[in-house]
Structures are given as C-alpha cells and as structure tokens.
Amino acid sequence: MEMFLGYVKAFAIGGLVCMIAQILINKTKMTSARILVMFLLLGVFLELVGVFKYIENFAGAGITIPITGFGSTIVKGAKEGAKIGLFEAVTYGFRNMAGGLTAAIFFGFFFALIFRSHSKKA
C-alpha cells in the first residue's frame, strides 16, 4: 500500500512539474532547450536552498526523473566535494553528472549509427 502511494505521489508531482513546463511553453513559446535549462537551474536552486530533499522524500521519482533531479545531483556532488577541498568542490559536481552524460553521449552515438531520422507523418 505504501509503495502504491509512492507511485501516486510520483505521478502527481511529476505530472505537475511537466504541467508547469507546458504552461510556460503555451504562454511564452519557449523552445525545449530553454525549458530544460530553466528546470535544471530550478533543481540547482531548490537543492542549494535545501528544499529539494523534502520534495524528494515526498515525491520520489516525481522530482528526480524530471531534469530538476539532474540539477540537484550536481549540487549534491559539489557539496560533498567542498568538504574535502577546493579542487574537489569545483569538480565533484561534474562527477555526479558523469553517469547521465555518459549514457546520453554513448547512446546518442550508438543509436545515431543505427537509426536514421524520418519525416513526421502527422
């Protein structure tokens, strides 16, 4: 039951985050790159002010699967590194990005070799 509730929360909060993005798209005609950057920075901001972990505890994947989660892991890494020293402070954030980036670049390369882009057929 508790697990099921977790999914409901993830669905609701995840859907809500996407809906806010959709409102921005409808109102301002922002392109997808801008939306992604904005939500990444939102995640960074929420993590910096310390709110993110409360939302994460509540919503789980609802906030970590949107790109806001990516922003928060970056700050988490930076926070960890700052305990060690200056060099680690500026590099550990990127270290936390490494998983996602590696996956995106590798799969991007791999799938672009296999697949070709096609015209939309609406």
Binding site: M3, Y7, A10, A12, G14, G15, L16, V17, C18, M19, I20, A21, Q22, I25, N26, S32, A33, L36, V37, F39, L40, L41, V44, G60, A61, T64, I65, P66, I67, G69, F70, G71, T73, I74, V75, G77, A78, K79, A82, V90, T91, Y92, G93, F94, N96, M97, G100, A103, A104, I105, F107, G108, F109, F111, A112, F115, R116, S117, K120, A122
Partner: protein, 148 residues
C-alpha cells in the same frame, strides 16, 4: 494601419493553444514517465541491495536516458512530444531526446563533423548550465566551509 495596431490585432486574433488539452497531456505523460522511473528505482533497490542510494539514482537516470534514446531512434519520441509537449521535454528522457535527435539528424554530414560535432546543438546549453552551476555551487559550499 500602424505597426502597433496591427500587432494588437494579431495577438488578439491568432489561434491560441488549447490550454486544457495540452496541460492534461503534459500532466499524464510526465506523470507516467516519472512512475516508470520510480519503478526502475524500486527494481534496482530490490536487485542491488548493497548499492548506495546515489548510485541507484544515477543508474535509474541512465536507464531512463537509454529508454529516451531508444524511443527517439525508433521515431516514437517525436510523436509523443508533439502530443505531450512539456510532459516529454522535462523528464530526463527529454534530455536524451535532445542529444540523440541532432546526432541522428546530422549523421548524414559524416560521423566526425556531422554527428559528433552537432550532437549538442540542442542539449549543449543544459551541459553548460549544469557545469557552471556545479562550479558555482561548489565554490559557495567551499566558502561556507571556510567559516565553519
């Protein structure tokens, strides 16, 4: 007719997005993608009990990126995006889509100068913003650490 008057006419009369339909689509698709992510999280926690939490989270995003890339390759994600808008852009799968789609688009200009060079025409800003904010937040934490 003056420029300003004409602009007002266009703003008043141009067709608007159907807010309710697009919002419902964005909500549903975004919610479902997050639930799939939650599902992978639970699965990995169950299968790899001795992994730490941050590693599981990274594995989940990598899996979602794989899914996003694969669906982009199959030509499904752009159709989903046309319906869902923000619902498929904001999840991490949308980030994967924005990396894979230019790579697929530009591989006709060759592997090195086409695909590899132009892979980040859409997603580049995200990586730059992420890296800059990582350095800035690292410095903030380091300076705070100096005073404690």
């Amino acid at each position: 007719m003056e420029d300003k008057q004409y602009m007002e006419y266009v703003h008043a009369n141009a067709q608007k997005s159907n807010h309710i339909v697009t919002l419902v689509w964005a909500f549903l698709v975004g919610g479902i993608i997050c639930c799939i992510g939650q599902g992978f999280g639970d699965l990995f926690k169950f299968a790899l009990p001795d992994w730490e939490k941050s590693k599981i989270a990274a594995l989940v995003s990598m899996t979602m990126i794989f899914l996003g890339s694969f669906l982009t390759g199959l030509g499904v994600y752009d159709k989903l995006g046309a319906k869902a808008g923000g619902g498929s852009i904001v999840p991490i799968t949308g980030f994967a889509n924005s990396v894979v789609s230019p790579a697929m688009e530009f591989n006709k200009e060759g592997i090195v100068l086409g695909m590899m060079a132009k892979m980040f025409v859409v997603a580049g800003p995200i990586i730059v913003a992420g890296t800059v904010s990582s350095v800035v937040s690292g410095l903030i934490y380091w300076i705070i650490g100096l005073f404690n």
